[in-house]
Amino acid sequence: MMTETHSTLTKNIAPVLSFTVLVLVWEATVRLSGWDTNVLPGPYKVLESMTELIANGSIFKHTVASLFRVTLGFYIAAILGIPLGIILGRSQIASILFSPVISFLRPISPLAWIPLAMLWFGIGDKPAIFLIFLASFFPIVMATTVAVHSINPTYFYVAANFNFSRTEVIQKVVIPAIIPDVITALRLSVAIAWVVVVAAEMIAVQSGLGYLILDSRNGLRMDYVMDGMIVIGLIGLFLDYIMRRLSRIESASWGVKQA
């Protein structure tokens, strides 16, 4: 009992403590370096400008724009990537045909696609969504394929023994078996997507947190740059929290406590 309350207490207090230390180190750096506040704004100034951005609503507008692109690009990647991963994992012919192509495309940085994306989709949401899609699609396909390959073969024997149809094998064996691994893959790729959205917005669009950072740099407002960074970090934290909650659903967590 004692240790339990102790541990929840530490769990809640520890992050607060480490963030406090971070802010203190930041403030100390500002004071000791003697740099101009336009070059390295301190925590107070950043907080002040954050209230400005909140007051005029622009921070919300940019955040929503970024989240919209990530969500859409990420969903398209998941909707196409998971089934493709299952097909590659189940069919040897499909795997022989497509795996080399995917292995070839995968290591190309999504940012390398920026010129083509802009040429094909113009300026606006579309190229950014395309880049986010590329960034999350390949990791999802790969992770799903690996997850299908690592299903215990016994389960397929059980399926054959109970006369499962093809659809039933997918529904009752393959999908539930890969859920824990796929959720982990989604969690990792949503983080990648969030990293990529900022880069994409610096080039191809006129809104979003990436655009906020770029625009503030042009206006030499480093405090706004930092506000953008802080919001990006906070949302990254939030996305990870959501994905972790997802993996705690009963039917998704069968693998965790196994073994």
């Binding site: 024997y157 059980v158 023994n161 109970f162 009752k172 078996a177 859920i179 069968w254 196994q258």
Partner: protein, 264 residues
């Protein structure tokens, strides 16, 4: 119930290891004969216990019988029909749990009954089989929440719910603690007497074979051949030690046959 006839069955494997495995002295592509000219006939409703040294191909025979693997030559006839693939008429009970871990006990048992139209009747039947293995109250538990013995019982319930002609069990008591092993063995004997299904069990435990089997078959080392095939016409419950001298002698003989000179 079903009649099984295994005729001149052989199974060869091709060695696909490029690197020579320690001590086996096989070259890449060389054929390894695992089963050689196996002839076994099993009568309707018989419980056959298959003994043999480890690695002799007992499990391979079971897998062929279940349709998971193909023989190189020979035939397996079940009720006169050749085995062409897996079928819910012959249910395999796996050595390590074959329960689907993402389904509850109830959902696992339902697998064999999933085509029943009448939902209510289906529920009743699922419950019946769960009660048969004394798992009532655990319908909504996931396999990982059950002990090893309970998992085996759940799998047995799932197998019986299909109402198969043949139950194929690969070392069903492996990894269970001593008491659970004894209880589970009793349950299988009771189940067999009650339902009268043809049961094919692989075991490495001589006493299991003697206590449960209507017939005991012994395989030799690889390439396996049938070394002994004997009907055990003794009433249940059987007490192997001391009291039934004939069984006791057979037990000594089996131990000797499997390479143990002084059986305890």
């Amino acid at each position: 119930m079903a009649h099984i006839q295994i005729n001149n069955l052989s199974r060869e494997f091709v060695n696909r290891r490029k690197k020579e495995r320690e001590g086996n002295g096989l070259d890449y592509g060389e054929k390894v004969s695992v089963l050689e000219n196996i002839n076994i006939e099993v009568e309707d409703g018989e419980m056959v216990c298959l003994l043999g040294p480890s690695g002799c191909g007992k499990s391979t025979l079971l897998r062929i019988l279940a349709g998971f693997d193909k023989q190189t030559s020979g035939t397996v006839l079940i009720d006169g029909k050749e085995v062409t693939g897996p079928s819910s008429d012959n249910i395999f009970v796996f050595q390590h749990s074959g329960l689907l871990p993402w389904m509850t006990v109830g959902e696992n048992v339902e697998l064999g009954l999933r085509h029943m139209e009448d939902e209510q009747a289906k529920k009743v039947e699922i419950q019946e089989y769960i009660e048969m293995v004394e798992l009532d109250g655990f319908e909504d538990h996931y396999p990982r929440q059950l002990s090893g013995g309970m998992q085996r019982r759940a799998e047995l319930a799932r197998a019986l719910a299909v109402n198969p002609d043949i139950l194929i069990m690969d070392e069903p008591f492996n990894g269970l603690d001593f008491l659970t092993h004894m209880k589970m063995r009793e349950e299988v004997v009771n189940m067999h007497q009650f339902l009268g299904k043809t049961v094919f069990i692989v075991t490495h435990d001589i006493d299991d074979a003697l206590i449960m089997g209507d017939r005991v078959v012994v395989f030799s080392k690889r390439p396996s051949q049938v070394k002994m095939n004997q009907k055990l016409d003794f009433p249940h419950p059987r007490i192997v030690f001391n009291k039934q001298t004939e069984l006791s002698q057979l037990r000594d003989e089996l131990f000797l046959m499997l390479g143990v000179s002084y059986a305890v």
